[in-house]
Each structure stands twice: as C-alpha cells, then as structure tokens.
Subunit: 194 residues, 2 copies
DNA sequence: GACACCTTACTAACCAGTAAGTAAAGTGAT
DNA sequence: ATCACTTTACTTACTGGTTAGTAAGGTGTC
C-alpha cells in the first residue's frame, strides 16, 4: 500500500473494486487473492505488491466505505428526512440489485470474530457512523418532517438499520422481502408512500 | 452418516454440538474439521467417518435446527401471542449470551452464495419456517392479543424477524443494541413492558 | 540509474477428503 | 460356551488443492 503514481492508483482502485464485489457477495473469508488477480488479469504477487497482507486490503476497503458514506451523507444533508429515508432505501436496493450484495455491516458483523483486529476496529467505527445516520433520519423526521412513531428516535433508528441489514440478507432467499420491509418501515414511521 | 449404535449417536451429537457452536460464532466457511476433531479429542478422519463431506455436516446441522425449532414452536403453541413474542426474545438473548452467537438465519443468508446447493435448500426451508412464526405472532397479536400496529401482520412479522437477525449481529459491536431493538419492537406493537 | 510495477518461483500452513489398517464389540452357528 | 466372522469406530498416513505471503529478478519510465 506504498505507491503514489497514477498507474498504481488505478490498479489499486481496480483491486478495491473487485475485492468489494467479492466481499459483499461472498464475505471476507470466502475470497482469496487468486480471485482478485485472475479477475484483474495479473499474477498473485501483483496484488500483494499493492496490499501486502489481506488485512491491509480489508482495512483499505472499510476505510473507502467510510469516505464514500461520508460523501453520501453530505450529498443528502440538505434534503428533508423523508427524502433522506428514500435515499437510504435506494442505497439498499442498489446493493441488492448488484448480484445480491448485502450491507457491508452485515458481512463485517457476521464474520466479526474471524476478522483481524485492525479490520474489527475500522468496522466498528464504520457501523457506528451508519447507525448514527439512521438515528438522525428518525430524529429529524419526528422533529421537522412528517414522521410519527412510538419510542425514541435512537431506538427507531436502530430498528430501521437492523431491519434493513437483515432484510438485505433475507432477500437472497426471497427477493420480495426487501420491498415489504421498506414499506413496513414507512408505515411504522407513518410516512406516505412516495 | 451411516451408523446406528449408541456410541456413534453420542459422538455424532457431540460433533454437531461443536459444529453448531463454530457455525454460529465463526460461520460455515471459517471452521474446519480440524477445529472439530481437536475440540472432540479425536483425529480428523474420525469426523469424516460420521460426516463424510462437510456438506453432509452442514445439512445435518440445519436439519437439526429445523427439528428443534419445530419443537420450540409446539412448546409455545398454547401460549398467547404476547408470551410467544417474549419467548422469541428469550431465544434471541440466549444466542447472544452464548459467546455472541448470531441467528443461524444470519449466517446462512450471509454466506448463502458460497454454500453447497444442498445446504442452500435446507436453509431456505428453515428460514421460511422461522419467518412464518414471526408472522403468526404478529397476526395472532392483532387478532387475539393486545397488539396494535400499522401495515399487515406479514409485513410486521418480516420486519420483526429481520430486525432481530440484524440486531444479533450488531450486538457484537454494541451489546446494548439488542435490548433497544426488543423494546422498540414492543413499542411498535403497542405492547406493555413485561 | 533509480524507482514503480510487475513476474516467476517458491514456502509453509491449512484445507477437505481418502485409503488402509486395527482394536473392540457384537453376531451367529455349532 | 466357544470359535469364526462381521461391523463399528476409530487411527495413521497420505493426496491434491488452495491459502496467504515472500524473495528475487525483469522491464519500462522518468
């Protein structure tokens, strides 16, 4: 993970793109450097040149998620909570429609006990950021927008996040489940269909 | 998986117990026959004697879950829906308190694309049975018991199941999340704290 | 000529799975 | 009741494949 040139940056990005796809479809333990190198058309050691240990690749992957998610939040910051909720739903749909990917949080927590500590730490921070966003939507929805629900915004945010994380996984068994859960969350928040 | 004697039955059971623990803490791809044999104090091939392929072990594991869950449902069949809900919550808590295990459905769906087809089929049936139970609680809760919520019982059941599946996974990052989610589900169902 | 970016070639560990052998327990005929 | 035979539940010893990771060398570019 040393280099600076443009060629390297491009290769690094392509490695991360392939690894991300593999992570969200197969999990961290179920993909290897061979999967990446053959998809990229290079030799095994070339991947190790850019990411010496698999742990480095995993950390880089989660860090990129965190940067991307921060941009996503910023891009949706000026919207109302109802639109933010729909943006969240669209993100969820996008995962599923791309080869039945699941939420990165779902992979990282499920494989948590088998992951290197460096990845665990990065994953914990990432997941906290995502949960916080769900809570923010619930809070703003009650304070400013047209949401009405029992319990605290924090608790409602946790349920929304957990239900969508679980829903993305269950959608692999029954594709319809995701739409059902999205609509039920709208109903629980007393939000009109959009 | 051929034998019938008592000694074999006992060894088989112990293999399944160890494998179950490993499955729910590490996942199917992250445990090996070595883990089992060393925990059991026998050689590798002894495990292969009872379960020739890892696929056989996986199928046996899910089938045992299905039998156990069927008994669980039957044991709770005569109870009211509010008590059934609390029984479901206790089951969830039991998983978490045993080495931060997660819901088998969470493992099986997350690793779904890497599992042998025989396990996928068994997993699909098992997960359908669990989802159906959650829906039954929601339906009976509305029809007979003291539950009140927007949307259909089916949709509410899916959200409950998905939220608890996700919640068990997220509890590895933040142990408090599980209690928060359980209470919020009670609130969403307009159930009094028990 | 130094450095970035790769390749070839390798290691040691681990994986699922198998073949052959063995001790002990059970079974059946006499 | 004993002997012959079979079966059960393993063991030792192995195979072929995959894993992450490394060391050394080559090639093109600045």
């Amino acid at each position: 993970m040393k280099p600076v040139s443009n060629a390297t940056k491009d290769t690094q990005k392509r490695i991360l793109d392939i690894a991300e796809q593999l992570l969200l479809t197969r999990g961290f333990n179920a993909f290897s450097y061979q999967h990446i190198s053959s998809a990229l058309g290079v030799r095994n050691a070339a991947v190790h040149y850019h990411f010496p240990r698999k742990t480095d690749l995993g950390v880089a992957l989660v860090q990129r998620y965190r940067r991307r998610f921060a941009r996503f939040i910023e891009a949706h910051a000026s919207l109302g909570p109802l639109q933010q909720l729909e943006g969240y739903f669209e993100l969820t749909d996008a995962y599923f429609h791309q080869d039945e990917q699941i939420c990165p949080s779902g992979i990282l927590t499920t494989e948590y006990h088998t992951l290197p500590e460096e990845i665990q730490l990065e994953a914990g921070a990432f997941i906290t950021e995502m949960r916080d966003w769900a809570k923010t939507i619930a809070r703003r929805g009650r304070d400013e927008g047209g949401m009405s629900y029992p319990g605290s915004p924090e608790a409602m945010g946790e349920v929304m996040f957990a239900a969508l994380q679980g829903g993305l996984q269950l959608a692999r068994i029954d594709a319809g489940i995701l739409d059902t859960i999205k609509q039920q969350i709208r109903d629980l928040l007393k939000v009109e269909k959009s």
